[in-house]
């Protein structure tokens, strides 16, 4: 396992959260005696590595790790089988199928099955076991995992399907997990005094939070005294524009070009082997570079490498004090790390040197600027002719739709038809979902709210200095992500820091309440009266920003940048359902049937 970040250096000691998750995991593993096989949902196995190393699993009797499938189990050499899966209908069906098949093909195997659902057991899954007739063979339990710490200031639930379920399918079951994780977070670190939010899902989470606090009664997390001052809930739907844009920070671009998965990225190193690089704050070089504009990364890396070299040349070991030598040795140690990042930055450079990348960024910029709509549509069409990646094309189409209150009639069907012709008619299902999600719709009437939002939140900033930025807009080279602008305004306060009329431009309800207790010590919430809670105070406030539906690395970078500004007297912890970029967000909406059909095609 690669180096872990120091989870406790942030405003909340997130190590505690990780310890708790590990404890839950160990309890779960120990619940079955003796040697056992652990069967994992692939979506779980990815982040499980962040919580527990393989040796820990071995210590607790796991002989073998398998991925979930519906094929019958062969001779495993052990009697105990533990499933650890997300509570989805699909998974329950696979498990039922596997158990049935195993019982049929190896009736005497005498296996004992325990199924742990994440984050809780659900009636729907149990019903599938009942209907498939395997309920009696299974001991069902749950793995009540909440937020997984990815770094000292970053939490994710890793619910990749949340956005799709919420926005395209009207299934809000994932919100329960969000609310429960937030309740657990407040139980550990103390309740937040103020709860703010924007969007339909945020409002639903707030209702759940109120309910959960009330149900806990006197055991509800105590408000005040803990480190968390405020929680801001934001729907991804409120700002769908940002993820459609290409992130231009170092970490963001690595994600855009090579996909960061569970905190690490795989690249081909010079020897041709696949190399996995962990990307977190444990890597001091990365920590300094991750949030910089990519344009500033090359020079920085060069400078560092050079300074070590020149130090080396000018050094006369005999003339140095021991402490100086120690420092120098530490610097030398960082050298391979610097080289690794030079390799990574080169890989990014190769990817963005392609003319297609430049076209993509310039189309984005002109759409965000709000001019050259026709030229943009033409460019998008040309990209399809050039067989550019489908999702890059779709991101631009969505951006066009989102910044213009829909795609103008003359392009709407034409562009969509082009998608079907170029990538296959099966993507009509995806286009329908994008339409349902409001990401790719027809322009009806006006040009939408984007222009007004752009003015109100100063989304476009001229003369961004990539190297020494003074505004968050550097993360998209001139475009300030709306979500972070909202946080920026809300932090300055009072309230949301912008007028009612501006907030009305955005979808969904807006709220700002105080979490408190009544005279009997029972939890209630009430409108914020004490402006001291949100206004400017001496104390550096800790704010948890929750992105329901996903957050991009560029937005995290913008929040960290905001935090570093002297005028911002707050520290942020970012929490989300999933770390995303525009491509992974759209990919998550792709119909399972297409994925299934395509996987067949690959075989």
């Amino acid at each position: 396992m690669s180096a872990l970040p120091d989870y406790n250096e942030g405003p909340l000691s997130l190590g505690q959260l990780r310890e708790e998750a590990r404890r839950l995991l160990i309890e779960l593993l120990d619940s079955r005696r003796g040697k056992k096989v652990l069967i994992l949902d692939p979506r779980v196995s990815g982040f499980l590595g962040l919580l527990a190393e393989v040796s820990l699993l071995k210590e607790h009797g796991i002989e073998q790790l398998l991925h979930l499938s519906s094929e019958p189990l062969g001779d495993l050499g052990v009697r105990n089988v533990i499933y650890l899966v997300r509570a989805s209908i699909n998974n329950a069906q696979h498990i039922a199928q596997q158990i049935k098949e195993t019982n049929r093909t190896r009736p005497g195997a005498g296996l004992e099955y325990a199924v742990y659902f994440l984050p809780r057991r659900t009636i729907a899954c149990e019903r599938i076991f009942e209907e498939e007739g395997v309920y009696g063979d299974i001991v069902a339990g749950e793995f009540p995992l909440g937020f997984i710490p990815f770094d000292y200031d970053l939490l994710s639930l890793e619910q990749g399907s949340a956005f799709r379920e919420l926005v395209a399918e009207g299934d809000r079951s994932s919100l329960y997990g969000v609310a429960r994780a937030l309740t657990r977070l407040q139980a550990l670190y103390g309740g937040a005094a103020v709860l703010k939010g924007k969007g339909t899902m945020a409002a639903a989470v707030r209702l759940l939070l109120v309910r959960m606090r009330q149900e806990l009664g006197r055991e509800a997390p105590v408000v005040g005294g803990g480190p968390i001052d405020e929680i801001i809930l934001l729907d991804r739907e409120v700002d769908a524009v940002t993820p459609m844009c290409t992130q231009l920070t170092y970490e963001g671009l690595v994600d855009e070009t090579m996909q960061i998965k569970n905190g690490s990225v795989s690249i081909d190193n010079p020897s041709g082997a696949r190399q996995k690089i962990a990307l977190n704050s444990a890597d001091k070089v990365f920590r300094d570079l991750r949030d910089l504009s990519f344009a500033a990364v090359g020079p920085q890396l060069g400078q560092r490498a050079k300074s070590i070299q020149s130090d080396y040349k000018t050094s006369k070991a005999a003339e140095r004090s021991l402490s100086e030598l120690k420092e120098f040795a530490a610097q030398l140690k960082a050298l391979p790390n610097i080289q690794r990042h030079i390799g990574l930055a080169e890989a990014v450079n190769r990817a963005i040197a392609a003319p297609a990348f430049r076209t993509r960024v310039s189309v984005e910029q002109s759409l965000l600027d709000g001019h050259g709509l026709d030229a943009s549509a033409e460019s998008i069409e040309e990209m399809m002719c050039n067989e550019e990646d489908l999702f890059v094309v779709l991101r631009l189409m969505c951006l066009l739709s989102l910044t213009n209150g829909g795609v103008p009639k003359k392009y709407f069907d034409a562009l969509r038809k082009e998608v079907l012709h170029s990538y296959g008619h099966e993507y009509m299902l995806l286009l329908s979902k994008l339409q349902d999600a409001g990401l790719l719709v027809k322009q009806e009437g006006g040009k939408g709210n984007y222009a007004a939002l752009k003015r109100a939140f100063r989304l476009l900033v001229d003369d961004v200095d990539d190297k020494t930025p003074t505004d968050i807009a550097y993360v998209f080279s001139g475009y300030a992500p709306l979500s972070v602008r909202m946080v920026e305004a809300a932090v300055k306060g009072p309230g949301w820091g912008v007028g009612e009329d501006v907030l009305r431009l955005l979808p969904g309800p807006t709220f700002e309440v105080e979490q408190t207790t009544d005279d009997k010590g029972l939890p209630i919430e009430k409108p914020v009266q004490d402006r001291k809670l949100t206004g400017i105070s001496k104390k550096r406030r800790v704010i948890v920003v929750v992105f329901i539906g996903g957050v991009t690395f560029a937005e995290i970078a913008a929040l960290r940048f905001l935090e570093s500004r002297p005028e911002t007297n707050c520290t942020f912890v970012t929490a989300t359902t999933k770390l995303i970029n525009g491509t992974s967000l759209l990919e998550s909406i792709v119909d399972d049937s297409i994925t299934a059909a395509n996987s067949v095609a690959v075989i």
């Binding site: 005696r33 019903r127 009207g170 009330q214 009664g217 082009e418 029972l522 067949v600 095609a601």
Partner: protein, 852 residues
């Protein structure tokens, strides 16, 4: 020295360097009990006592009733309940942690009763195998049980909430074991129950996976007893010895020869370090270092192990045999000079207004805090109220002379509060004889729960209030009991009575009360009470139970908890007629989409019905599209396995087209899905065309491709006629077509074709993309040069030539375009000495003004 009035030391028995006492807890309130004829089960921690006539013993039955009666008493012998036992033979009896009575029938049925003799619905069976083998013996521990069957096998149920009988790995015994004992799961390493079985000359350690011989040399063992902490096991051997090992028989600890051939009737631990052996009229206590005390008994008794002693219940009394706690011994031991004892004496002298009190106090001034602590601890451990009082007084007296923070101020308050609680519990009317140590092990919140169970609500409420616990639990249970008791009170009046009490306590769960009301058949009351419930997870299942599905669905949706919505929907699906169910879904889109998410994967037919009924035609259409996609993938798979040689099954291909046509029709039935309708139709058309193409060309390389790929395939195969047809059929724009064909030709390195295409007519995309594509795919210079030649003369063309390394042509072109800058650049590139350089220089010269 003072007299130490009230001293109990006279009743203590010395055993080595320690003392044991046997104070009486109660004189039993019962009168007609003969314990030796009874099978008795006593709950730990001073809980209730259950008994039933022991059919293993010969008893003269008088009177007409021959059926045995199960009787339940408090620890003080007050009757709690009695009921007729009209099931099979009793194989065992015991109490759970929740103080529910378990009675195991030899046929494997396990019956559960409350301490008030009400049959609980949680009864269960040990399964047909255990039933066939007959249960012969049984041990019930706090949250599970172990039974021995006639076939000498062991079964266990480790969770009474979800009883799943599990067989333990004991096998191969031919005769019944001498005895067996259970180590509770909370004490074992594995976290699962382990059983010690004395059979033959040894002891077998049994768990779910294995049975291992412990290799005990002293066999045969006739009695086994596990210490209350699960760490040690005491055994009575055939040679009349009492032997103690660690519980895994890994380490021998002590041995004591009793000089008795007859095994004792009972062996029980007294606390965790001494063992009590019981013969008919003798009680032998053996301490950890081989010291012993013998008591003679006048009556038969039942032994109940506690964490700090053992209770002896006889026909007339209830006693506690325990080691005298050190703090008490320190104060009351005859001749004790411990600081605690001296402080106690000083206080007695003070009360007697004797000036020597001060003297006594001065003697221990250095160790006063210690003396105070001893007295407080002793008061806490003492059972006698008078002595508690005297000890506390001594403590307070000493504390007054302590430095300010030498002794924690609130300790005395806490202990007094605890003593008040314990004394109240110990009162015969309540009958919970807990010592401070037991209360600590059990914890006071659990004590409150037990009081609630025992229907002592007022006392429970007072204790809960004293401890600062919420009163919710007590009040809710009170309300339930009230509902049961007030059968004649009308619903509304009862509701008012209950809400009046519960209103002051917002954490109280009305749902629990409502559930109770429903269970005893007062549905109206349940519905009324549920209106006050705020927690949906509690409310919804009950509403379902009351048959109020609509209300339940509303509450579940409002709660935002999808799981609850599913609970309601599944129930509605089962109980309502389909049409009604569909109507309910149609009215609530949120519920509809949840159910759609479930049924799309489990019951697609049902989902289709729902979609059709609710007018969601696009949903059905999407299902058709998915089916088409799956069918198409199947064809692809079939081809892949058949090496692509086989022609597709025409019927399968036709099925895909049929599904797509159907999807198109369905989409067309809605207003908003015109695009999808056209797309599906177009897709069907594409599939048909592909099938035709395959038939025409005899090449199975088309089906399943996208339109663009189909075109590419045509171009690749050189079938430009068909490509043109596809282009017109699907109204593909010129630009699009040009791009596609150009890129395909270049990728296929068909340079001739590419050149020909570039020449064909005026390209709508210009010539530059041709050049770029040609270079990208490594076209020969001649080809590139000929394509560049298609560009109109100008700077651009010259640059392209130069970039392709065709400097001669570049120079000529630049010259024609009269571009001297370009020529200058070229000059730089070639240098001036080469022949080409000279030529370029000449060309440039000619362009100079006046150069002609």
């Amino acid at each position: 020295m003072g007299s130490r009035g009230l001293s109990p030391a006279g009743e203590w028995e010395a055993c080595g360097d320690r003392f044991y006492e046997k104070p009486e807890l109660y004189t039993m309130a019962w009168s007609d009990i003969k314990l030796d004829q009874m099978r008795v089960a006593c709950a730990r921690y001073g809980g209730p006592i259950a008994m039933v006539r022991d059919d293993r013993k010969l008893v003269v039955v008088s009177g007409g009733i021959t059926k045995p009666v199960v009787r339940i008493f408090t620890a003080a012998g007050e009757t709690l309940a009695a009921f007729m036992w009209d099931h099979g033979r009793v194989a065992g009896m015991g109490w759970t942690n929740e103080e529910d009575l378990l009675i195991v029938e030899d046929g494997g049925e396990v019956h559960m009763y409350s301490m008030h003799g009400q049959k609980l619905p949680r009864s269960f069976s040990l399964g047909s195998e255990a039933a066939a083998e007959r249960v012969t013996d049984c041990v019930i521990y706090g949250d599970g049980l172990v039974v021995l069957t006639g076939a000498h096998r062991l079964w266990t149920v480790s969770n009474l909430e979800e009883p799943r009988p599990q067989r333990l790995a004991l096998s191969g015994l031919t005769e019944p074991p001498h005895c067996f004992a259970v180590i509770e799961p909370r004490h074992t390493l594995s976290g699962c129950v382990e059983v010690l079985v004395a059979a033959g000359d040894s002891v077998i350690l049994v768990d779910a996976d294995a049975a291992n011989d412990a290799g005990v040399p002293n066999g045969p063992i006739t009695k086994l007893s596990v210490a209350p902490n699960g760490q040690f096991v005491a055994a009575f051997t055939g040679e009349g010895k009492l032997v103690v090992w660690t519980a895994d028989f890994g380490k021998f600890l002590s041995e004591f020869a009793t000089q008795s051939d007859t095994p004792p009737e009972q062996v029980a631990w007294c606390g965790t370090d001494s063992v009590v052996l019981y013969w008919e009229d003798i009680l032998l206590l053996v301490g950890p270092y081989g010291d012993w005390v013998k008591y003679s008994l006048e009556e038969p008794a039942v032994l109940v192990t506690e964490c700090d002693g053992v209770r002896l219940i006889s026909d007339t009394t209830h006693e506690l045999l325990r080691r005298v706690p050190d703090c008490l011994a320190d104060v009351y031991r005859v001749g004790s000079t411990a600081p605690g004892a001296l402080l106690y004496d000083a206080r007695e002298l003070f009360d007697a207004q004797n000036a020597r009190a001060d003297e006594g106090l001065r003697a221990i001034v250095a160790s006063l805090p210690e003396a105070v602590a001893t007295c407080v601890d002793a008061a806490q451990a003492e059972l006698d109220e008078q002595r508690q009082c005297a000890l506390m007084k001594a403590a307070c007296y000493g504390r007054a002379f302590c430095a300010a923070d030498a002794f924690p101020r609130d300790r005395i308050v806490t202990v007094c509060r605890q003593l008040r609680i314990l004394n109240a519990l110990r009162a015969p009317a309540v009958g919970l004889p807990l010592t401070a140590a037991q209360a600590e092990a059990l914890t006071l919140p659990v004590v409150v729960s037990r009081l609630i169970n025992a229907r002592r609500h007022l006392l429970a409420l007072r204790i809960a209030t004293l401890l600062g616990m919420g009163p919710e639990k007590v009040l809710v249970h009170w309300a339930c009991t009230k509902v049961s008791a007030a059968a004649d009170v009308p619903d509304a009046a009862l509701r008012d009575a209950i809400t009046a009490r519960l209103a002051g306590c917002p954490g109280a769960r009305y749902a629990t009360v409502a559930a109770h009301a429903q269970a005893i058949g007062r549905k109206g009351l349940a519905a009324l009470l549920l209106e006050h419930e705020t927690c949906a997870a509690e409310q919804v299942p009950l509403l379902l139970g009351l048959g109020e599905e609509e209300r339940a669905l509303g509450a579940a949706l409002e709660s935002g908890d999808a799981d609850l919505v599913y609970l309601v929907l599944f129930r509605m699906q089962r109980t309502l007629p389909l049409q009604q169910f569909l109507a309910a879904l149609a009215a609530r889109p949120a519920a509809r989409s949840l159910f759609a998410a479930y049924s799309s994967q489990t019951e697609p037919e049902l989902l289709e019905q729902i979609n059709m009924a609710t007018g969601v035609y696009e949903g059905v259409a999407a299902m058709r599209v998915r089916e088409a996609l799956a069918a198409s993938a199947r064809i692809g798979r079939a081809r892949a396995t058949a090496d692509g040689a086989a022609r597709p099954a025409d019927t399968a291909a036709a099925e895909v087209v049929r599904l797509l046509d159907r999807a198109s029709d369905l989409y067309a039935q809605t207003k908003e899905h015109g695009f999808q309708a056209r797309a599906a139709a177009e897709w069907a058309r594409l599939r048909r065309l592909q099938a035709e193409l395959e038939a025409e060309t005899g090449n199975a390389a088309f089906l399943g491709l996208s339109l663009a790929d189909t075109l590419r395939q045509c171009v690749r195969l050189g079938n430009h006629r068909v490509a043109a047809r596809v282009r017109t059929d699907f109204k593909i724009s010129d630009r699009r077509f040009w791009w596609l064909k150009m890129k395909t030709l270049a990728a296929a390195k068909d340079w001739e074709g590419l050149e020909a295409f570039a020449r064909e007519k005026k390209s709508p995309i210009g010539i530059e993309p041709f050049i770029a594509a040609a270079k990208q795919h490594g076209a020969p210079d001649a080809t590139v040069s000929r394509i560049i030649a298609r560009l109109p003369d100008g700077k651009r063309k010259a640059e392209e030539y130069a970039a392709a390394g065709l400097l001669q042509e570049a120079a000529e072109c630049a010259a024609r375009a009269r571009d001297s800058d370009m020529l200058g650049k070229l000059q730089d590139m070639v240098g001036t000495v080469s022949p080409l350089g000279v030529a370029v220089a000449q060309l440039k010269e000619r362009l100079q003004p006046g150069g002609r």
